[in-house]
Amino acid sequence: MALRLADYKTDVHNDWCPGCGDFGIVNAIQMALAEMGVRRDKAAIFSGIGCSGKTSHYINTYGIHTLHGRVLTFAQGAKLANPDMTILAVGGDGDGLGIGAGHFVAAGRRNIDMTYVIFDNGVYGLTKGQASPTLKLGEKTKSLPSPNTNHSVNPIGLAVASGFTFVARGYSYDVRHLKDLLTQAVRHKGLAFLDVLQPCPTYNDINTRDWYAGKDMMKESMERHNRIYKLEDTKYDPTVNYDDPAENNRHLAQALVKSLEWGERIPTGVFYSNELTGQYSDRIKDKIPNYTENPPARQSIARADGTSNADLERILDSLEV
């Protein structure tokens, strides 16, 4: 039965600010799920804390609104226990790259088959606009008392270095492109990371929609200089094509260099994609051969009479004196 976009919407009142970039991301997620025909009850959106944390309430799948910085921990636990689920984790850049940075790195090392989307706007919106990890050094958004004293973190570079096997960037006002990236991310076998540039119209008065559109760069010619461009429109090839360390290193290095590009030109699209590195579930299967068919969530644990069905006789025999 075909699922329509409307099936993925809830009637929960959306209280994001007018013009918020988050709307585009929610729409893109709903469109991607509809396009892929992912059943509502086989998908779960896990979210962190902040404006982006409310995302899970607006999407009509299982929705788990977790703790600040901890979204990946909950999401990975659910995926490991029930690998049949399609899992998306979402959160802000403060959530994932500030308080949750340790989990970000550790998740990369595991490479569990799921998708993580960061709503990247450079500010802590819900607490009234403090500097978040992706705000550049020296920038002073409107509610900061003084310019930002920290260097910014490079989300794409950190993801590549941590072991994420699909790393991409989208822009929240290019919903179709974002939907395409999300579709690729969800279909990717392994842990996918999607950094979404998402203007905060209320607190980030630097990286605004107009700024991304390059309006500040319009000169005498009045020519439009959109900062954002798509990697797929260039000769950039993100895909690791064969299982060889040199091939992989070349793509990792390329992605890292590309991730440093910022300012007049900002790349979006897929930076790095590698399905040749094994997923975490492969490593579990090496130890537990029937993990896929009989994962934790599917196992029976009781007999008909309501007592344990675990047969511990071999272990207990070895302990008996």
């Binding site: 039965m1 909950f74 636990g77 226990a81 689920m85 934790p296 969530a297 069905n309 675990a310």
Partner: protein
Amino acid sequence: MEVDLTWMIGGPQGSGVESGAGIFSQVCAEAGYHIFGKREFYSNIKGEHSYFVVRVTDGATHSNTSGTDLLAAFGAETIFRHYDGVRAGGGIIYNSELEQVGTESVHTLDGPFTERLHRQLDESGAEHTVAGALQCARNAGVFLYPVPFKEILARLAEETGDPKLGGFVRLYNTIAVSLSLRLLGMSAAPLRDSVAKIFAKKPAVSDVNTRAAMLAYDAFDTRADIAGFQAGNRLRDSVQKEPHTILVQGYQGTALGKMAAGCRFQPYYPITPASDESVYMETHEILDVIDDRPGSTVVIQTEDEICAIGMTIGGALTGTRSATCTSGPGFSLMNEALGWAGINEVPIVITDYQRSGPSTGLPTRHGQDDLLSVIFAGHGEFPRIVYASGSVEESFYDTGRCFNYAEEFQVPLIHMMDKFLANTVQTCRRFDPQKVEIRRGKLLEEEAATGGTAVEAPDGGGGDGGEAAPAYHRFAFTDDGISPRAKLGMDDFVFWNTGDESDETGHITEDPILRIKMMEKRMSRLDLIPDRIPAEEQALEITDERGHGDGNSSSAGTGDYQAEGAHRPITVVTWGSATGPARDAIEMLRRQDGIRARLIQVKLLHPFPTGRLTELLQSGGREDHTVVDIEANYSGQLGTLLVQNLGLHADHYILKYSGRGMTCTEVYGALKRIADGTAGKREVLKYGA
């Protein structure tokens, strides 16, 4: 009991103290003796002093005693630290090459201890050497048995033609065990059998250990005076053995309990003394299942304890019985997520192996000082269950109960264990997984296979376009405040969770009236829990029946607690691992002084079983008794709960916070002083190196 013997082996960490104790315990347990052993060690990998003390009895015991009957020492430090703990009539087997070693050359002797040692040796006019310490022991009536360990290795090298074995000091542990068993009067055969069993998977190791053991056995100088020692300390090759006895390590109780209870997901972060449980579960990750394909426990080592509890919650949301295992510092990190599980009514089990805090505290030492911290952990108010086991055997069955409680009441549950229990080695009745019931409360199931409630999909949620909102509401108001619980991935049971206050569907609300209803829905469980959990599972009066089974036959009956003579009746209230020493101490009091005392063990610590305890404390006109609280912390945390919930102020506190487990001997001493009227309000125990 005719046999009640305490054997100790000590040496530098990493020198095989633990495996030596393993062999000794195995031999004695195979012979039919009861074993109660415990391990003490520094936060260190190699070099610091560790020791293992094993109590061997021909009846059930639940604790160690103070003092040693036979000390086996292959390093000088062991002698310095423990020579004065050997009882008159006991013995010390030691490596004779050590005699001239002075305290100054043992670099792991710390300052405060060395100062105390020197003072003690000076008082006896003994020099600061092994020989000096041993002279003091001899003067105190201890038999000394010097053995040239190196010569035994030389003979081994000769016999095997492998000169390397001549310097293979890793075999000193086996040699010490063999000499000990020889001195205690056992023949060589049981030792040979046990070594073969323990090293069954490593034939080469088995062979060299057996040879070393036999050479040591024969090397024992039979001209030595063993008759005097054996007059008080003798083991037979075989005594009447209880059928179906297992020799089990503390952490195996909860690990096997989890396997039996259907826990199939355990994320954890390494921490002493909790990690052993998770490692054991991973070692046995593939499980045999009755009438089904093999099952498995997915054990995940996470990046920190925050991830461990986050993953545990994620697993529990899929309907998997999920748990984690930690100690105080890790539990502190879990506090925020504990509240999330509370507000979202997610059943998870956290096994908390307490150690001495605060902060890193004494990281490898015992303590019961986290009770109040776990009861009050997390900001805001939410229901949780805190349940404590008092012995290894109990911990197996309690683990099953814990998962049932967590799921029936849909709350996070903290199962309190501790270092004392984790590092106990004990004989007990073979665990029976078939006695572990699986009760999953209002968990909804698509198939009735896993013990939950089978359900039909709600109307209108057919995934066919979603015209009608699904009828399923995760937090639906019900008569008892507990809502049917769906799992992630169930057809047509889409739900939402949030750490915010929510409405019945799980969406955020800040409505004041709904907030009140939701708070009351959740918090009403604090009344429901003690109402529904059977009284004897909340707290019990332990009445000992010596000579029956292993003595674990606790009953909730009304024991004869009457003190004789002038003594006021004594009622001991305790929890967790203090129960064992308390129980044995009360038995000593009865046997040696004819004083009877009652023992009440509290297992459900939160919500506090006020009704059950009132009944136990007041039944039969027992208002006029001396109440003694026994626990391993500074402030008497259970005592605080008694004041808070019952308005009951304990008359005396027997407390220990040295980081070492209580012995029954020292608890007995304190109880005796209480009975005699010479005790202070706080009796602080100090035994143990």
